[in-house]
């Protein structure tokens, strides 16, 4: 019970109390009305007429629906007040008129009790759905429901008491009084804006028709499912109610009926209150909305089987007791929660339809079934068998509800927008498009088409005369691709490029010829005659690669070529090396990889492709750091295959690898060999000391799985990494609490250093949360955890609540409380309570915490702690500060703080 009260947070008390009191009064009135109704009706009319009144109730409420839909679109608080005032008057009117109306009046009273309860409660719950978010509803509806359960008890107790001193009609007057009090209580609820019930997109328009509502429900899976569920639920409980009333009216005399029913309802309502107080919230939190919704059909299924097996009033009473205990507590809470995720306009349309048409339709069908079975003269076991069948269908529908229910939240978070597409295969139409693009005046378009044709191995479709293209860029690209694809047939056209105006084209064409049709003397002649350094650099490489030059002369020639002509010649040299895929130029490439010009370094990286010298690997991995050299370096590394992968794997676990290079390794490993990288990266993740490398490992794993969905990450390793992230998050939460408490305790601690420390801790917490959600996304690939993360960070209550709901339905029980503890808006103590085993011992004394931060793995944290210790003149930490000067970046801060501490010590 205490838990229920604690679930109401600051700012929610007034609304919750008003809603609870209102429900209390309405249900009190209904309990009085129900007892009077049953006692009067069953003592004068046979139970077999009950189906008739069930149908009459359904028809009356459907007639009421259109008016209600129009009313509910207005100010709902005012609507409720008007309903309640009218209900009170009508109920009091029955007290006056019943003696005059005879049996017809009893039928009318039965129908009225159903109409009154439905219209008031529909408006009430729709209004609450607009006041509270899903997260609030899950906390507060059980508490509000307590009001209903307590009202049922008071109503039943009052009915039992009044029946001792007065006759049944007197209960009607008491009910009217309770409704008047409810009308007053409704004035304390917040007003809610008027909404449209016609245009289901919320855009406004004329009032809704039943058909408009029906169309909406039929076209949307979730409302449709909820409506069908309500229909089957109503049919089942109608059958249960009839079975019980049929047996009780035949087993007891008319005089015994009133007191028996009043007492039974009192007991059931007490049980319902207990269930509401002690079970509803707990079951909803533990099993979720869908799980809680399955409780009643499961119990009725078992109870129905019991009646079939045993028979008799006792078994039927037990069945009715299950219904009476759970339906208005656990089940009511779960059912109302089903409407909360719907948008305001959809809920306003669906809720009345479900409560009126679907439920009453279910009652009608249940009644018709009862009538049919009764006509056949079947005994109570047949009715019980029907209860079993209907409860089984109901249970199945609840289980099947899970997916459409979650889909509502996914839609709220705009799932499914980020699918990374695979590029379509090239069909004939597209081939024509690409070939047509070769005629474009736009060089980029032509090169794009060439690259696409090459990527899809359709370069043979490109005619050789494209080598006469006016653009140098295009011709160089064609030369590169033709050489790569060994297009020997193009050699004749290549020869005609010998007098091309561009030295780069002439050199590359000559290089291409030397690859496709090697002719060393021709190269030697061209080299000797060349005076353009760019041309000479390129031809020189081809000459060396052709083997025409003695080995001893090669180093001098290379040195000469690299020295003359500037960056353009060095790039031409590197490009020619790449063209030949030739070994023997490694030393020159290592030199070029350290060139001051980044474009030369990029050309060197490109030329390293296809090399075999392991010295190139270290250089290539370091070239991954710069934007311009990253892509060519990665492409070159791919050509080293397993050798590059092994190098990177060893460098990742080697803490002596320079940090900037280590940061590149996760992505490189994932690109080089995804299948081997997945277990390596995941296994290494918990051991990795550098937070940035951990982050990049997680990102690399995400990319890797996205690009190769067949790769499955080891669940145990993932769990370990997830637990690590949760522990780190709680460590930050706890540190934050100690810092805040310390500053509150001694305001002089609120210094710039304190603010910095706090900001760093917050940043660590944000990082841990991001990584945790990314890892959870890997563990549950069917959910879009990026969307969930965005929802959790959102200021929009609906998005936040949707994210929370999806988390609750996705996470395994062991992870749920600690993860929810991190994302929900909780008091500090409550948050830490959820941490469970994920809390690590940290110092709770402010100074001790600062002392512990001096040995934190984060350099930034250590620096901020050193700085803050100086601000606070904490001389007793002087020795620890002196010992924390291990990193060159911290030398200045250590010196500053030690100076301050020394000054403080000396007075």
């Amino acid at each position: 019970m205490g838990g229920l009260f604690r679930s109401v947070r600051a700012g929610e008390h007034r609304d919750t109390a008003a809603a609870s009191v209102l429900l209390f009064c309405v249900v009190t009135a209904h309990a009085l009305l129900e007892t009077a109704r049953d006692a009067l009706f069953l003592s004068s009319v046979p139970a077999t007429r009950l189906p008739v009144v069930y149908v009459a109730i359904a028809v009356s409420i459907v007639v009421l629906l259109r008016g209600q839909a129009r009313w509910i679109g207005r100010d709902r608080r005012r609507t409720l007040q008007v309903f309640l005032a009218a209900a009170s008057a009508v109920t009091a009117g029955f007290w006056l008129a019943l003696p005059l109306l005879g049996t017809a009046g009893l039928y009318a009273l039965y129908v009225w009790s159903g109409v009154m309860a439905t219209s008031v409660l529909v408006t009430f719950w729709v209004m609450l759905g607009g006041i509270f978010s899903m997260a609030q509803a899950k906390r507060l509806f059980p508490m509000i429901g307590v009001g209903g359960a307590a009202g049922a008890i008071l109503g039943s107790a009052a009915a039992a008491g009044l029946m001792q001193v007065a006759d049944a009609p007197a209960l009607l007057l008491a009910a009217a009084g309770a409704i008047v009090v409810a009308a007053f209580a409704s004035g304390y609820l917040p007003g809610t804006p008027a909404i449209s019930t016609t245009r289901m997109d919320g855009s406004g328009g004329p009032a809704a028709s039943v058909w408009a509502q029906l169309r909406l429900i039929v076209t949307r899976p979730y409302p449709r499912h909820v409506a069908v569920l309500a229909f089957v639920t109503a049919a089942t409980v109608t059958m249960v109610d009839f079975l019980f009333k049929h047996l009780v009216s035949t087993a007891l005399t008319p005089e015994e009926l009133g007191p028996f029913l009043a007492n039974l309802y009192l007991v059931l309502n007490l049980a319902s209150l207990g269930s509401q107080v002690f079970l509803a919230g707990w079951i909803t939190r533990r099993l979720g909305v869908v799980g809680a919704g399955a409780a009643l059909p499961a119990l009725l299924l078992a109870g129905g089987i019991g009646v079939v097996a045993v028979g008799g009033l006792a078994a039927a009473t037990a069945l009715r007791s299950v219904d009476g205990t759970a339906r208005h507590s656990v089940h009511k809470t779960a059912t109302e929660l089903l409407f909360v995720p719907m948008s305001v306009s959809v809920r306003a349309a669906v809720k009345p339809f479900v409560d009126v048409v679907a439920q009453r339709g279910g009652q009608v069908v249940g009644s018709v079934l009862i009538g049919l079975i009764a006509t056949l003269g079947a005994d109570e076991r047949v009715f019980a068998a029907m209860v079993v069948a209907l409860a089984a269908v109901w249970l199945g529908l609840v289980i099947a509800l899970r997916q459409p229910y979650l889909e509502v939240f996914r839609k709220q978070l705009r799932y499914g927008q980020t699918a990374i597409p695979t590029f379509p295969e090239l069909d004939v139409g597209n081939l024509e498009t690409l070939l047509a693009a070769l005629d474009s005046a736009d060089d980029g378009r032509v090169i794009g088409a060439l690259e696409l044709l090459d990527a899809q191995e359709r370069l043979s479709a490109v005619p050789s005369f494209i080598l006469h293209h006016p653009s140098e860029r295009v011709v160089l690209k064609v030369l590169e691709l033709f050489t790569k694809r060994r297009r020997v047939a193009a050699v004749e056209v290549l020869r005609r490029l010998g007098d091309h105006r561009s030295a780069a084209v002439r050199a590359t064409a000559l290089g291409a010829i030397s690859v496709l049709e090697p002719d060393a003397p021709e190269l030697e002649e061209q080299f000797r005659d060349a005076d353009d350094p760019v041309f000479r650099a390129a031809i020189g490489v081809h000459l060396i690669a052709s083997g025409a030059l003695p080995r001893a002369e090669q180093p001098a020639l290379v040195a000469q070529m690299l020295a003359e002509g500037g960056a353009a010649a060095r790039i031409a040299f590197a490009d020619a090396v790449r063209f030949r895929s030739a070994a023997g130029f490694e030393d020159a490439l290592l030199t070029l990889a350290e060139d001051a010009d980044v474009q030369v370094r990029a050309a060197a990286a490109r030329a390293m492709a296809g090399g075999a010298d392991p010295r190139l690997l270290g250089v290539l991995f370091s070239l991954l750091q710069a934007e311009v050299t990253r892509e060519p370096a990665m492409a070159a590394l791919r050509t080293f295959g397993g050798q590059a992968y092994d190098f990177a794997a060893a460098a990742l676990v080697d803490e002596d690898t320079p940090r900037p290079t280590r940061w590149q390794l996760p992505r490189a490993l994932a690109a080089l060999d995804p299948a081997r990288a997945a277990p390596l990266l995941l296994g290494h993740l918990p051991e990795e000391p550098d937070g940035m490398v951990r982050y990049r490992i997680i990102r690399a794993l995400q990319t890797l799985v996205r690009d190769a969905p067949s790769i499955e990450l080891d669940a145990d390793h993932l769990q370990r990494a997830i637990r690590g992230a949760i522990r780190r998050a709680y460590r930050s939460v706890e540190r934050m609490l100690v810092l805040d408490a310390g500053a509150a305790e001694a305001p002089e601690r609120s210094t710039p250093g304190h603010a910095l420390l706090r900001a760093i801790v917050q940043s660590k917490l944000d990082n841990a949360m991001e990584r945790l959600l990314r890892l959870l996304g890997q563990l549950h690939p069917s959910e879009d955890f990026r969307r969930i993360h965005l929802g959790l960070k959102s200021d929009a209550p609906a998005a936040f609540a949707s994210a929370l709901e999806l988390l609750e339905h996705t996470l395994q029980p062991a992870l749920l409380p600690p993860v929810l503890g991190l994302v929900q808006d909780l008091e500090p103590a409550e948050r830490l309570e959820r941490a469970g085993d994920f809390r690590e011992p940290i110092p709770h004394d402010y100074t001790e915490l600062l002392s512990s931060l001096l040995s934190d793995r984060s350099l930034t944290m250590r620096g901020a702690a050193i700085y803050h210790i100086g601000e606070l003149r904490l001389t007793r930490l002087e020795a620890q500060v002196a010992g924390a000067s291990g990193h060159p970046d911290l030398v200045g801060d250590v010196r500053r703080t030690l100076g301050l501490l020394e000054a403080a010590r000396d007075g």
Partner: protein
């Protein structure tokens, strides 16, 4: 907006993207992503591409034709193909402007929601955005840094370097990091290094590669453009990074006008930081976009 949509194949769209200079720094995956999630739209003269009173659902790249862009002050300027439409508003999260087709206009249209998703999944898109806005900003300023106007008198020369924590605090207070990530600021501090130059030192010459920049701590720098125009900037100005981000060479000579204390940061380090801290990169783009267009 009464645009009509034509059916272009994915390969057609890919080639259009591939040949458009505004997408030149995208990697192959990013180009494929965009090609599969854009549509060709045709607007008749007078049609709205974006409206100031409507949320921005799509941004465009003009393939043909020209549009009229209405500024906040009511003035109108014309933008021709292959310009972008709506991108600054999208990046800075500001309401769009009224932009109407001046002639018949063909565009590639990209959903803003999809772009948001792709930005986080593929850094190359963010990088391309930074490049484009930086280039726009450079052009708007004629290649020179923004003239800061009269400079405050120089304080005492900082003989000793700031400590690591002091530098984090300084950087953490800047608009880029104040409400994004202090850890990102710390990362940048670790990557930057303090430099001191004498008066008259040539920091760089026009045409040199712009792969590093300076955040001035003390002193002044004289910047001289190709046409001889000059701007003098002083601490805490940051200069030189925009060219690198725009992938353009230095557009002006930079000479120390006094003794100089500054932090030198490499463009690659800044980009690497943006890659790891998505919110910082988006904030940076929004800030640049504000400077360039509003």
């Amino acid at each position: 907006m009464t645009a009509s949509t034509a059916d272009l194949s994915v390969h057609d769209k890919l080639l259009l993207i591939r040949s458009n200079g505004r997408f030149s720094s995208l990697d192959a995956e990013a180009r494929a992503l965009l090609a599969q999630h854009c549509v060709y739209r045709y607007f008749h003269p007078g049609d709205y591409l974006t409206r100031a009173d409507r949320p921005l659902d799509e941004v465009h790249i003009l393939l043909e034709g020209s549009v009229d862009v209405k500024r906040e002050d009511g003035s109108v300027f014309t933008l021709d193909a292959p310009g972008g439409v709506g991108w600054p508003s999208f990046i800075s999260r500001r309401p769009p402007r009224d932009i109407t087709a001046r002639t018949g206009v063909g565009t590639l249209a990209f959903g803003t929601q999809v772009l948001d998703d792709f930005h986080e999944a593929n850094f190359s898109l963010v990088r391309n955005g930074i490049r484009l806005i930086s280039a726009d900003l450079l052009e708007a300023r004629g290649g020179l840094p923004l003239d800061p106007g009269p400079l405050a008198p120089l304080g005492p020369y900082p003989e000793t370097p700031a400590t690591f924590v002091e530098r984090i605090q300084d950087l953490g207070r800047t608009p880029l990091f104040a409400d994004t990530s202090i850890e990102a600021a710390a990362q940048l501090v670790r990557r930057d290094r303090e430099v001191r130059y004498d008066e008259g030192h040539v920091l760089w010459r026009r045409g040199e590669p712009a792969d590093w920049g300076l955040r001035l701590v003390w002193g002044r720098v004289r910047c001289v453009g190709a046409d001889g125009a000059e701007v003098v900037v002083g601490a805490p100005f940051a200069l030189g990074s925009l060219g690198g981000l725009a992938q353009r060479p230095r557009a002006y000579d930079a000479i120390a006008d006094t003794r100089l204390v500054a932090y030198l940061g490499r463009t690659d380090d800044l980009l690497s930081l943006f890659e790891d801290y998505y919110t910082v990169s988006i904030k940076f783009m929004a800030m640049l976009s504000d400077l360039a267009h509003f």
